[in-house]
């Protein structure tokens, strides 16, 4: 009887999602809603996730493995960033409604969770709290990336 009133244990799947920075502030119920919307994809080392100039229809979060963001067709000299497990990428095309600015390739075998533009937009309408928590986490990640790429003297909160 008491178990009814206690929170149910989190499934391993939800535990994995909670490890991702993008979803770390969501409650168990909110996480379950988001889990219903996520698509899981597996990429082999070297496989292209998206191309520069492509219309962006999803933001991705690396669950396991590593992804490299680079200039089109130049993953070595044109490397811009490495995306490790737990971090989101491909969000700018969604936020700006613009084509992908760079190419994304799997640096090693990886599992990626994808949230489509349509689902993110419908979250904004139907589950505004969830959407705002995700977007706040995205804003924090973008802020961190901006600071990391700025000269040392400029690394202070704006």
């Amino acid at each position: 009887m008491l178990a009814f009133f206690q929170g149910r244990n989190e499934t391993p799947r939800l535990g994995t999602l909670r490890q991702l920075a993008l979803f770390s502030t969501l409650s168990r119920l909110e996480l379950r809603v988001v889990d219903g919307l996520l698509h899981e994809r597996r990429f082999l080392k070297g496989e292209i996730i998206f191309d520069e100039g492509e219309e962006g229809q999803a933001l991705h979060v690396v669950i396991t493995g590593r992804v490299v963001i680079c200039k089109q067709g130049d993953p070595v000299a044109g490397r811009i960033a490495e995306i490790n497990a737990g971090v989101a990428f491909g969000e700018l095309a969604l936020l700006e409604n613009a084509p992908r600015a760079l190419q994304a390739r799997a640096e090693e075998d990886c599992v990626v969770a994808s949230l489509s533009r349509g689902d993110l937009e419908s979250l904004l309408v139907t589950h505004a709290v969830i959407a705002s928590k995700i977007l706040l986490q995205l804003a924090r990640q973008l802020g961190r990336q901006l600071r990391d790429r700025s000269p040392l003297t400029e690394r202070r909160p704006l």
């Binding site: 919307l37 698509h39 998206f50 191309d51 229809q57 130049d74 044109g78 349509g118 139907t126 589950h127």
Partner: protein, 382 residues
């Protein structure tokens, strides 16, 4: 791994368009309607189930957010709808049973009322226009009407009523199907998304969003339009003094789901009822016709743009063409289905066209397949 930079490679639009996509859309829609005609008993409950799905989906979503899991939420909402419908039907059952017994009789009575109205109108016309009297217009039309009543209607009415009664059990499938759509719809979309190769994944997501958005906008808009039409017609008919204004308004609004023909049939039914119940007051009939024309105009210029609107994003010319195709191939269910079906087929055809036209995407898929083959055969090559 490194290769020469190839700027702006993936810039092809997601949805291809053009005469080929249009031809493919019309051909596929016609083919689907032909196939659906073979399972017509399933099409109507399926269509109602889709409408129910979009009507009940917001409640399921609210329950999910409140902590109820998807399966239970779907069960509660679909079950609740079934119970509410049954509760609403119980008081109406004696009336429905009486109507079923006297149904054929009532149809003949209303047809006779309609015939009387036509004859009176013809007499009036003949008295106003001399050339009609010279043509013996009234007598000629009366003879044709009488022939129609004694031959066609008597021969086919019983069959039509029996066929309608035979459809009723199939309609019980609608809430059952709606429950499974509510419970497994999202899972099916995820399954569909995960079954395509990585290279085509984002395009498939886009296609799923567009298909879902198109169907949702169309059917939710249709429901809103039905509510507005019912309200306007019921209010107008009550003001004129026609009995059963709400029931007639609802019936006419539902009939309007059939493009063009439905509104005319709804208007004819109301005119027959008014002509039979008020045989000495033709102004009521003319007022009912005027009301239908007014609601039709409001539908076309105000309500439809606000509800169903341009949810299908189709040009009027192929739309009219498709309505004719739908009516010819699938009859009345074909007329109802053809536009949403064509909207969905157009998105799918456009997406496939976009993939076929994009050599980069196909090259990416081939590259991924090669990588997988190398991985699988790695130990064999050694």
């Amino acid at each position: 791994m490194s290769s020469a930079p190839a700027a702006r490679i993936g810039t092809r639009p997601y949805l291809a368009s053009g005469p080929l996509v249009w031809l493919a859309t019309i051909a596929c829609t016609t083919l689907l309607l032909t196939l659906l005609k073979q399972a017509l008993w399933l099409v109507v409950p399926f269509l109602l189930a889709i409408i129910l799905y979009y009507a009940l989906f917001p409640t399921v979503r609210r329950l999910t957010l409140a902590g109820v899991d998807r399966e239970t939420a779907a069960g509660i909402v679909a079950g609740g709808f079934l119970v509410a419908t049954a509760a609403a039907m119980v008081p109406a059952l004696p009336w429905l049973a009486a109507q079923a017994v006297t149904g054929e009789e009532a149809v003949y009575r209303y047809l006779a009322g309609g015939r009387l109205l036509i004859e009176r109108t013809l007499q009036l016309l003949e008295s106003q226009f001399g050339f009609l009297k010279q043509m013996d217009f009234h007598a000629e039309m009366s003879r044709k009407l009488s022939e129609f009543g004694t031959t066609y209607v008597k021969e086919h009415l019983a069959d039509v009523l029996l066929a309608t009664a035979a459809w009723l059990p199939a309609l019980l499938l609608a809430p059952f199907l709606a429950f499974f759509f509510l419970r497994d719809g999202r899972r099916f979309l995820k399954f569909l998304g995960e079954s395509v190769p990585n290279a085509y994944f984002e395009r498939t997501l886009y296609m799923i969003d567009r298909v879902d958005g198109t169907a949702r906008a169309y059917f939710q808009g249709l429901l809103k339009l039905t509510l507005i039409d019912t309200f306007c017609l019921a209010l107008g008919l009550a003001a004129i003094g026609v009995p059963g204004a709400f029931a007639l308004g609802l019936m006419a609004a539902v009939l309007a789901w059939v493009p063009f023909v439905g509104s005319v049939i709804g208007c004819v039914i109301v005119v027959l009822v008014a002509a039979t119940d008020f045989p000495t007051s033709p102004w009521i009939v003319y007022a009912a016709v005027g009301l239908f024309l007014l609601v039709r105009l409001l539908d076309d210029f105000v309500f439809m743009p606000l509800t169903v609107g341009r949810s299908l994003h189709m040009h009027p010319l192929p739309t009219v063409l498709l309505i004719f195709v739908g009516g010819t191939v699938g009859g009345i269910p074909g007329l109802i289905l053809v536009l949403p079906l064509a909207g969905v087929v157009m998105v799918i055809a456009g997406t496939i066209g976009g993939i076929v036209n994009d050599p980069r995407l196909r090259a990416r898929h081939a590259f991924a397949k090669k990588l997988r083959a190398q991985r699988i055969n790695a130990d064999l090559q050694a």
